[in-house]
Symmetry: C2
């Protein structure tokens, strides 16, 4: 497996486009289109919020079915959530316009139910459909399969994100080079269980629907569901995986070496997109990683890691470069997992080094200066040794800063 520079247009047969449709933002691209010239098998994972945005309902119906997916239309600025029954109409109109636009440009026969839609932005605002449809028209005429088109699409879906998120790898299967590439956006409202977070991963592998769905469902547990910015699980979170088979390998329809190679590549792309989102959390000044080792079960390791990475007090201490290890132990303690505090050891690590800060559930003497230096880096890792088993998990988040408040105190205006 090899990481390359690329995104959603890197896999064969996929192209992308972006457009400035002025849905809410001015003077920047705010719509994107992903198009696969070969009908793709799809898998989707969506928000667990009871209040689901209309695009989530629209997409889930399609990815849960055997429909091929040919295109995904995305807009930033308005979430199309809490828009009542009208919300589904917005999706249907958007998909219909994309299908007929693509059919006109490429002389294809795509249907409305081959098109996914995704939205992110303010909840509760109606979609300005004239501008959306105008945007779709621009998009279908701008499609390109080069890297730049992929990157521009990754920029168009950003909201409060400060950096665009792309990842890509290639590997060999059956003598063919397979590419898995993706883009995502997400910054606020990020919390385990899919949070406003949109992620789109495209691959040219030839794989059965059943295995594609399985690979994605398994992988989110250790990637997107292990990041948290603020504990708010959004109405719109969607992760879409499309596989169009264009690389020409014999179809993968059973588990084995080829499936494992695909899972590894998928994990790399998902993990990178997830980590990048966590580090770009609203107002974040650094990426905060929490590794839990020697837990009794894998699921407990995940719960413990997420509890620490989600703790406001710990995040504020990380912002202040303060090695307040008691807050880490406290966050482990209220996670819901039962454990013996006396067995727990804590370490801090960054590119500046590693320091042991607690042992047997108690603080030990350590250099505050050294700890402050370690915490002062752009990526800081807290290592939690539970001392009670063999399972591990890693969660990603960010520090809690003044800028988080600034961004969120008046987001709508």
């Amino acid at each position: 497996m090899r990481e390359i520079s690329g995104g959603v247009t890197s896999a064969k047969g996929f192209s992308a486009a972006s457009a400035a449709a002025e849905i809410k933002y001015q003077g920047r691209d705010d719509m994107a289109l992903i198009y696969s010239e070969f009908p793709a098998v799809s898998a989707g994972v969506y928000t667990t919020n009871v209040v689901k945005a209309a695009p989530v309902i629209w997409d889930k119906k399609i990815t849960d079915s055997d429909n091929a997916v040919c295109a995904v239309v995305v807009n930033s600025g308005i979430a199309n959530a809490c828009t009542g029954e009208e919300g589904i109409n917005y999706c249907s109109q958007t998909a219909k316009a994309a299908a007929s636009g693509i059919n006109a440009v490429f002389n294809t026969q795509i249907n409305t139910d081959n098109v996914l839609v995704a939205s992110t932005g303010v909840i509760g605002m109606d979609m300005p459909m004239d501008r959306v449809l105008n945007g779709v028209n621009m998009l279908v005429n701008d499609l390109g399969n080069d890297k730049e088109h992929g990157t521009k699409a990754a920029c168009a879906i950003m909201t409060t994100d400060t950096i665009k998120k792309e990842a890509c790898v290639t590997f060999e299967v059956d003598g063919k080079t397979v590419t898995v590439g993706g883009m995502s956006k997400g910054s606020g409202m990020i919390h385990p269980n899919m949070c406003t977070m949109l992620a789109f991963v495209t691959t040219d592998i030839n794989i059965s629907k059943e295995l594609l769905v399985k690979a994605l469902k398994e992988d989110v547990k250790d990637t997107y569901n292990m990041i948290s910015v603020d504990g708010d699980t959004s109405t719109n979170d969607s992760l879409i995986l499309l596989a169009n088979g264009a690389c020409g390998n014999a179809v993968i329809d059973s588990e084995g070496e080829d499936y494992d190679a695909f899972c590894e590549a998928l994990h790399f792309v998902n993990r990178k997109l997830a980590m990048t989102m966590a580090g770009d959390g609203e107002g974040a000044s650094k990426l905060f990683e929490v590794k839990v080792d020697h837990a009794d079960t894998r699921e407990n390791a995940r719960i413990l890691a997420r509890s620490v990475v989600s703790s406001s007090l710990t995040k504020a201490a990380v912002f202040g470069n303060d090695a307040n290890w008691g807050r880490i132990l406290c966050a482990l303690g209220y996670s819901g997992v039962d454990f013996d505090p006396q067995k727990v050891a804590l370490y801090l690590e960054s590119s500046s080094g590693r320091i042991h800060i607690a042992e047997h559930g108690r603080g030990i003497d350590f250099s505050e200066d050294e700890a402050t230096k370690i915490l002062g880096r752009k990526k800081v890792t807290a290592i939690v040794d539970m001392g009670s088993g063999e399972e591990s998990a890693t969660a990603w988040g960010c520090d809690l800063t003044y800028d988080y408040i600034k961004i969120n105190a008046d987001y709508r205006s």
Copy 2:
């Protein structure tokens, strides 16, 4: 029932003291003592955190037993949490010093296991026992049953609190005047399920242990467990209720009118102490109240109210006087309670008036100016009508502000 000005010294037979022991703070009182000249029946509710501070372990053993309680020693500054086995020794030494000090001053026969201890402050620091014991010595010589001694005790237990918290009511039972008075501290680390929060309620009612425990356990569900500042459940949360029977009523040992009257008084005191803590959350500029009406079950109403009051995004919007109702609906949606979003209506209310902001799960036209005015008050209420049942619950929290970050980014130094 009548609210009066008072606190832990208002009930007959209770006195209090405070002292500047320099445990961590300088130039202010940081230790307090509550003393009952009549042995009191006790009830306690403690943190659910797996990592429990030593005083929690010490007190739980006593309040779970039939031991009478005569005194409570409290310190602020250091939490005596994550202090290993030494932590229990600190408790034992403190209780022993208090018992022998009180015995010397009042010629009584109190034992170590008649004394509770409570601590709040930095986790993981060892207790400076010479200063603690010196403080105990000052405390036993300063006891007084007047209002001022109660208030000074309420001030001594504060950490990042900006105001002291006291509440008191009187009512009649069996021809006698019963008093229920209390004090509490708590500002950061506040979240449902007892969070660093210490609360002490004293009453001169004559009541059985069984009913005292029952009354307290029932009441916390709608008071202390309905407040949240930052979602971090502390290692030290303790709520202690002492009843010494000094008012001379015939013992209440079965439910009925007298028990109900006591529960009502207890609820008033607990609710006031809880609300005051929520409104004085770290960095808070206002009290944020969330009332959920017409939910299908009481427990679901509580879960929904707590989810909204705990949402960082909603709290940041409240700080910014931004009527971002979509975030409220979103927080209801990820609470874990299943409901039909289309039935939900939302209102905002304060001393400036009331405004209807969403209906059938969608936004409705409202005056942003009026909403901003309502949100600009010191107490703001979000009213959530679930439209699906008869049950209600109220939760209290505060807004999320720049000052929360400031206080918590470097709390230890």
